[in-house]
Symmetry: C2
Subunit: 359 residues, 2 copies
């Protein structure tokens, strides 16, 4: 199934205004509407388009169905000086995530490090948003989540784990900082969507073989299309990606009392609470070493990497997070590319809430 893939460019500010208004009309308090919007727009700006305003329609539907609370009671309880639990109160994942990460940063300021396991949340967008929140405080930021099951464990044949993202951000005085923001599958599901929309062949090793990948009526790959963990098959280290994905589920789901493994299929139903889990953390650079010395060595390592002679057809070697910084600049300037299928959903929301269509 090929869907027209020529995206429309929409100004980031226009998208931001629209998204904030949608959340407000749905009853989300202004501050929270701004926070949730910022996560989605930031995803679009960084080029993670499947985690941007493409996620607005599911949020809209789930708030309307009463399975996401607009005024969640977010409860943070520190069980030791530096570790604790956050009950997200079934709020928007972006709002829950922001509060939990802020709490980690403030506690790490005092104790050097701090960590929270979060349950009763929903999709939180890009993990890299939360880890990046640590950068301005000269801290290392950590964010993980579990998600709806579509990755096979090595040796198994069914989707048990989500594409569970792991993000670690490390500050650096010079641009770019280090922002690793990766799914623990070979690729995120969104990348498969993009290839299929263009009518191209899905590259070897992206999906678990028995199922031929296809797009459903919503223009996304359904849960029945299974994926390999990072590393692919066992012989090429797939058990490591499976191990990383399982680690993210243990820290996000088991440690917090959220759903986990195949129980997370609830997060795909429009009328069931997701009870998704996340894990956040922060550690102060100055708690290990003088920041200026750290910066000096970090620059040398980046230079070391960048000076490796390039492979053919390669323009440069990127530091993790650098492609997103480049995309951000371009999307800020030219507008955010929005797929026609996503635009249709935004129009549907606009019509239902009597808002002006963003364009």
């Amino acid at each position: 199934m090929k869907i027209s893939s020529e995206p429309v460019l929409i100004d980031a500010g226009v998208l931001r205004d629209f998204t904030e208004k949608v959340f407000e009309r749905l009853g989300v308090p202004t501050e929270d509407a701004k926070r949730a919007t910022d996560v989605l727009i930031e995803a679009d700006l960084r080029g993670f388009d499947c985690h941007g305003v493409a996620r607005l329609f599911p949020c809209f539907r789930r708030i309307k169905n009463g399975v996401i609370e607009t005024h969640p009671k977010i409860k943070i309880e520190w069980l030791t000086h530096t570790t604790g639990h956050c009950d997200g109160g079934n709020g928007l994942g972006m709002v829950v995530g922001w509060h939990a990460m802020k709490a980690c940063l403030s506690r790490a300021e005092e104790f050097g490090s701090a960590f929270l396991a979060v349950n009763r949340s929903d999709h939180f967008g890009i993990a890299g948003y939360y880890s990046s929140m640590a950068l301005d405080s000269d801290m290392i930021g950590i964010a993980m989540s579990n998600g709806s099951p579509r990755v096979v464990p090595t040796g198994g044949t069914t989707g048990i784990l989500g594409t569970n993202p792991i993000s670690v951000a490390v500050p650096r005085k010079q641009d770019p900082p280090f922002i690793l923001d990766m799914s623990t599958s070979v690729v995120s599901s969104g990348k498969i969507d993009v290839v299929l929309r263009k009518g191209q062949q899905v590259p070897n090793g992206w999906v678990y073989p028995p199922v031929e990948p296809f797009l459903d009526s919503q223009g996304v790959v359904p849960m029945s299309v299974l994926q390999y963990p990072l590393g692919g098959q066992k012989i090429t280290g797939g058990y490591k990606g499976y191990g990383l994905g399982l680690m993210a589920d243990i820290l996000s789901g088991i440690l917090s009392g959220a759903n986990f493994g195949s129980r997370l299929s609830a997060s795909k139903k429009p009328d069931a609470q997701a009870n998704m889990g996340h894990f956040f953390g922060a550690m102060k650079i100055s708690g290990f070493r003088r920041v200026d010395e750290f910066n000096k060595d970090f620059d040398s390592l980046v230079q070391d990497i960048k000076s490796s002679p390039l492979e053919p057809d390669t323009e440069r070697i990127f530091i993790p997070g650098e492609p997103e910084i480049i995309a951000r600049k371009e999307n800020q300037r030219k507008g955010v590319p929005i797929l026609s299928s996503v635009l249709e959903k935004l129009k549907q929301i606009a019509s239902e809430l009597d808002l002006k269509i963003p364009q």
Copy 2:
């Protein structure tokens, strides 16, 4: 080059006695000799044979050359309540690692979590040894290291990063616990050694293509054989493995003031101090959730994974760390398989130190 690969089985206790005596004869204090030995024997028992007594000869040579101290001044300084720096004093990596991890565990008992960045160390054996030290205290253990450069960054053509291992261990009441202990390359270098020794073809995607893998006169792949990061090429997510390997180098090398990137080639020279870096951490399970509830959900997740219908030619789905527990039982019972090339080195040490050959 094919080397006879039929290993000799040697009783673990005999190997342990021999290894302890070697360290003692070299001037290592008894307690430290026992600690260092335990890390090496544990590696052999778990089946990580390239990190077991196969590492004794390089230790022997480096102690004799005066680049590893037998009485290191290990200095641990906590710069915040939960984060700090450990100067390994150029000691044996296994001794430095043990002390640093112990310090994290004891501090995490009080504050919920604790982390140390370590410099001036040497090869520390298997990362999983240190993360596993947390299990008996119902804590999550974390251990990483950098290492000699042989992994290409995605887009580059030279070895900048080590196969930098990452290990995370999570306790579980029932066996097996979760022990992820992985190099951030497609495979560890030792696995390439094993395939070549058997005269077999190195599987596609294990090594960076331009160099045909070969064994040097010591029977190991030399540094000139470059490796892909986990995920392989860019199209199959190799940039994620590169990102994980770089993260391990930042936390182990940059955060601690150790060598990093291509500077770690010093660790391969018999007469240069390695100044290798590690990163250790611990977090209490009870700091997030009641341990009994945690155990109950963890069991359900394991059961969920194990009940996925099996792929053809697969006997079971493993939890990370489980194959090593099985290998441990077998090697404990039958004896540890020691390659003839490794046995030759042990004989050489025995002869130089006037010790009985282990057999």
